[in-house]
Symmetry: C2
């Protein structure tokens, strides 16, 4: 029987509850958002005792469905003040599914200064004192836990940033190599975990098998079909497996929508120096890997392993991170980008938010644009807990307030990622309207705007962008519930057989009879729940807007402004 | 003819416009809020070019109506994100009125790094370069301007905090002695002035006379009657003139609603050491003044002049400031309070917000509670522009985010002043619901809750508090439009002749035929305009709430929580 593991951090009681019937067809984001909606008062303090941190594998996690190992983390975001789901790869999602755990719910908030860990095995769950792990970076914590509990455990942890309850702190878990860098990074959920004084959750699934499947034959057939669709698709079968996500660097630069110098320019003359092609070349030359699976069973293997000059390894450097620390800061040096990425991973910060924040500090003149060493020195302040370090860890919107900067690329307090909304206007609509705050993964209109996948909508014109974003946001909410990597969407948008194959897998696993329409309905339902939470938390259409400068400053080379009408933005949730 | 002086800081053009007919019966807060509502897009960036800073004398300013020299400053607040009016004494309000200027409107935002001043005389207004004044404290700037332009000028200025666009920066002007400490402190309007790169506005009314009065005889009779009412009232005629506002320290402490140790306790054992009685004793012994008029023509003279051990003078130490740096930080030493107050005045920060912020830093353990020297050292960081200094200048809500503190006493981002809402629940309603954010002056329920003025409502019970706050907020909005000091409300609440006398003065001055009902109507209209601005800016009832800990933590000695129902809070604007 599927369970919820409820962990009360105030009383230090743990209990397994049967999954309520109404949650039976939910997983991943669908489940985290529904539990947050049902149990967390929308106006509560995100770092107070009334907020909860919900960790959930996807519907298909723990099976051998290809690329189904995403782990969702949800709660009320201290960064945005709204509902949040962030998801990551790593090995933990599948382990939780194998243990029959549909969700972990961390609740309450303890008194005192002790830090705790939670160990979960097939025999049950228990607290342990984690004071010896406090203050340590995620790499060391993960290494210690693997030494203590075996190299097959999944380690969900936060860095010092999460302990300090910094608003840009993420929750991470490790990949199969023990690398602790699979981040549910966005929205500050690491600070929520820190507020509960839980440093680490160790998941040991020894003695368990794959998640149960009601109709194994039907499942196997659908999974095989889906794997072939992924393999045959040019993006999921060729592009991503060869160069990873950072293959986008040159593409987005060419499209003129690569935010450069804190969103002043749309192209960066040194983009090639931090591109996926360059990364693959350097990584391989140094004995690293140009491609790598973030979780077992992934067929796209879009991640990478980048050896740094000091012998340490940064794994991975994703496109959005390469952008955040590269073009955004006018830094055209991959080793500097890797170092900034590594520090973020270790101290426990979201790389996108941190890149945006460093951009704001450069805008303020605190750090010179392009000065990688100064950026590294500033980022190292976070772990020291200095005032500057804390400001950096508090995200771009707070840094903008502290330094009197109005050119802050953020929506609902969350930094805008690697695609400028003035020349990829579909993404602009997603940034403005997603309940998650600015988030490229919430409705990735780069597909039809730039990549000509799933149709073609001119990225420079406002027309059709609201419809595009709406459809993508709905589809994404559904995909985020399955445990499937969002990149399967490339195949789903291109091949009409893909979505039925996914639905067949879910039906076979749970003994359901869902249709493809039901999946769209699920996506709509999730968005409605999230939107309603935000409404109760105090959000209005005034929060569904981009910062002023995107409307008043033209972005070279296309010299366009963001001009999607307010009424179009307000139409996105008309369903 | 009454004028608006419109100052475009982008183009450096100044022009006088005739006051539109629809503004003819507006002044002070009524006029600043209406202009902000009419001209500032509610969702604009408060520090961007679309915000405006509006400075307006009251309706009765410039006449010899007693205590009528308050100066209103308004705009969209960078601290709260909503509409803001803050008012102050000083000599400038009457000078502007004498010059026939009903409002100064600063608009636009210049490029470049130059600082500007504006000089206003009877002959017109002009810009001057103020780079030589940049970086200087308000005391020095005022002294320089008085030396250059004569000791009778009014000097409206910001300190380095305003130049840095820190969210807690205020706008100040000087009293008759040249002391630059009459602050329109709350809501960060100094940052708005800083964003326009206007360091100082010098107002020279030489060659002008009192503001014109249509029926001088009727005016004189009403003014004389009103002066006698103030003189005969025990608070405005005896209490305030003898000990000033800080006479409240012992009273509020005795009532058990003196927020102590960042709102953990309702009484402070060293309250007497920072009380008005003690202040009067020390000030007089050192050659200072126990009472002092903040503007010419004030009959209450509730201010003071406190000589510090180093020979400098802090003038004044108001009750709320003495609380912010005294009980709130567990500091029981008047010289330390004076030093903190002096630094705030000079660097240009709101004392209430800064006291709340230091309380949050003490809560975080960055500064020990009760450590005056550490508090002084921290506050001195502001002028240096360090990261810590900037965080301190950014106010309590931002500091809470940066330091992961959930016990932050703030509503709509603005710090809660010197009366705990759990044992002065009428003030709690005002803090929660005022369009201004937490503000004791917006609806001072201490009257009926603690002082037994204008009725009696039990401060410990929720009953009747919403009605009390509503009536006070309406009356306050009207008083804030007249230029009269809010303290006249003590007389108005006690003596039915007082309000008709005020109305008679306004009617005599402007040739109007307003009734006392019209004055209540004016208050309602102002609140509706302010509330509508905030609604368009994205505020909802979720913003009309106190922080969580006031609902969950009991306050000694009465051991009460804030328990006014949400529906009662939401009823405050039912008119």
């Amino acid at each position: 029987m599927a369970k919820i593991l409820r962990i009360n951090t105030s009383t230090r009681q743990l209990k397994y509850e049967d999954l309520p019937e109404k949650y039976s067809a939910l997983g991943g984001r669908g489940l985290t958002s529904q539990i947050v909606f049902d149990e967390v008062p929308a106006t509560c303090d995100p770092l107070g005792p009334l907020n909860k941190l919900v960790i959930a594998p996807g519907l298909l996690s723990g099976t051998n469905a290809p690329s189904s190992g995403r782990l969702s983390v949800g709660g009320k975001s201290p960064l945005t003040g709204g509902i949040k789901e962030a998801n990551a790869g790593g090995i933990t999602s599948q382990k939780l599914a194998s243990l029959g755990i549909k969700a972990i719910v961390l609740e309450g908030r303890p008194e005192g200064s002790d830090w705790y860990g939670v160990k979960i095995t097939a025999d049950g769950a228990e607290f342990f004192n984690a004071n010896d792990l406090a203050g340590k970076g995620t790499y060391e914590v993960t290494a210690i836990c693997r030494e203590r509990y075996g190299t097959k455990v999944g380690v969900i942890t936060i860095g010092p940033a999460g302990e300090m309850q910094l608003l840009a702190a993420g929750v991470t878990n490790n990949d199969g190599d023990g690398n602790s860098s699979r981040y549910a990074g966005r929205g500050g959920l690491g600070a929520v975990m820190g507020s509960k004084r839980v440093k680490v959750i160790v998941v040991d699934s020894q003695g368990t098998f794959d998640a149960p499947v009601k109709d194994p034959e039907k499942f196997k057939a659908a999974a095989r079909k889906f794997a072939k669709i992924l393999a045959d698709n040019p993006t999921t079968g060729i592009g991503l497996p060869n160069y990873g996500t950072n293959v986008l660097m040159n593409i987005i630069n060419e499209a003129g929508t690569l935010p450069t110098r804190n969103f002043r320019l749309g192209r960066f003359d040194k983009a090639g120096e931090v591109s996926g092609e360059k990364l693959a070349e350097v990584a391989v030359a140094r004995g690293g890997k140009a491609t790598h699976a973030c979780h077992p069973g992934c067929v796209m293997r879009c991640s990478n392993v980048y050896p740094m000059p000091d012998g340490k390894v940064c794994a991975p450097i994703e496109y959005e991170t390469a952008w955040a620390f590269g073009p955004n800061l006018e830094i055209g040096d991959l080793d500097t980008v890797a170092r900034l990425n590594y520090i973020c991973n270790d101290v426990g910060l979201d790389t996108i938010e941190t890149g945006c924040t460093l951009g704001v500090l450069m805008e303020a003149g605190i750090i010179p644009f392009g000065d990688g060493q100064a950026a590294i020195a500033a980022l190292e302040e976070v772990g020291k807990g200095t005032a500057l370090g804390r400001v950096i860890g508090s995200g771009s919107a707070v840094a903008g307030k502290v330094y009197g900067v109005t050119r802050v690329p953020a929506v609902k307090g969350q930094g805008i990622p690697a695609y400028d909304p003035r020349s990829c206007k579909g993404n602009g609509v997603t940034y403005a309207t997603s309940p998650m705050g600015a988030d490229h993964t919430a409705g990735y209109a780069v597909t039809a705007n730039i990549l000509n996948v799933g149709g073609k909508v001119d990225p420079l014109l406002p027309d059709g962008q609201a419809d595009l974003s709406r459809n993508l946001q709905i589809a994404t909410a559904a995909v985020d519930s399955t445990g499937l990597c969002l990149f399967v969407a490339f195949a789903v948008l291109d091949n009409p057989e893909a979505l039925p194959a996914i639905v067949d897998m879910i039906n076979a696993q749970y003994g359901l009879a869902l249709t493809t329409d039901d999946v769209a309905g699920l996506g709509q339902q999730i968005l409605k729940v999230e939107r309603e939470f935000n409404r109760k938390a105090g959000f209005t259409s005034a929060d569904d807007r981009l910062p002023e400068f995107f409307h008043t400053e033209e972005l070279p080379p296309h010299n366009t402004r963001f001009d999607v009408k307010d009424e179009d933005l307000d139409s996105v949730f008309n369903f």
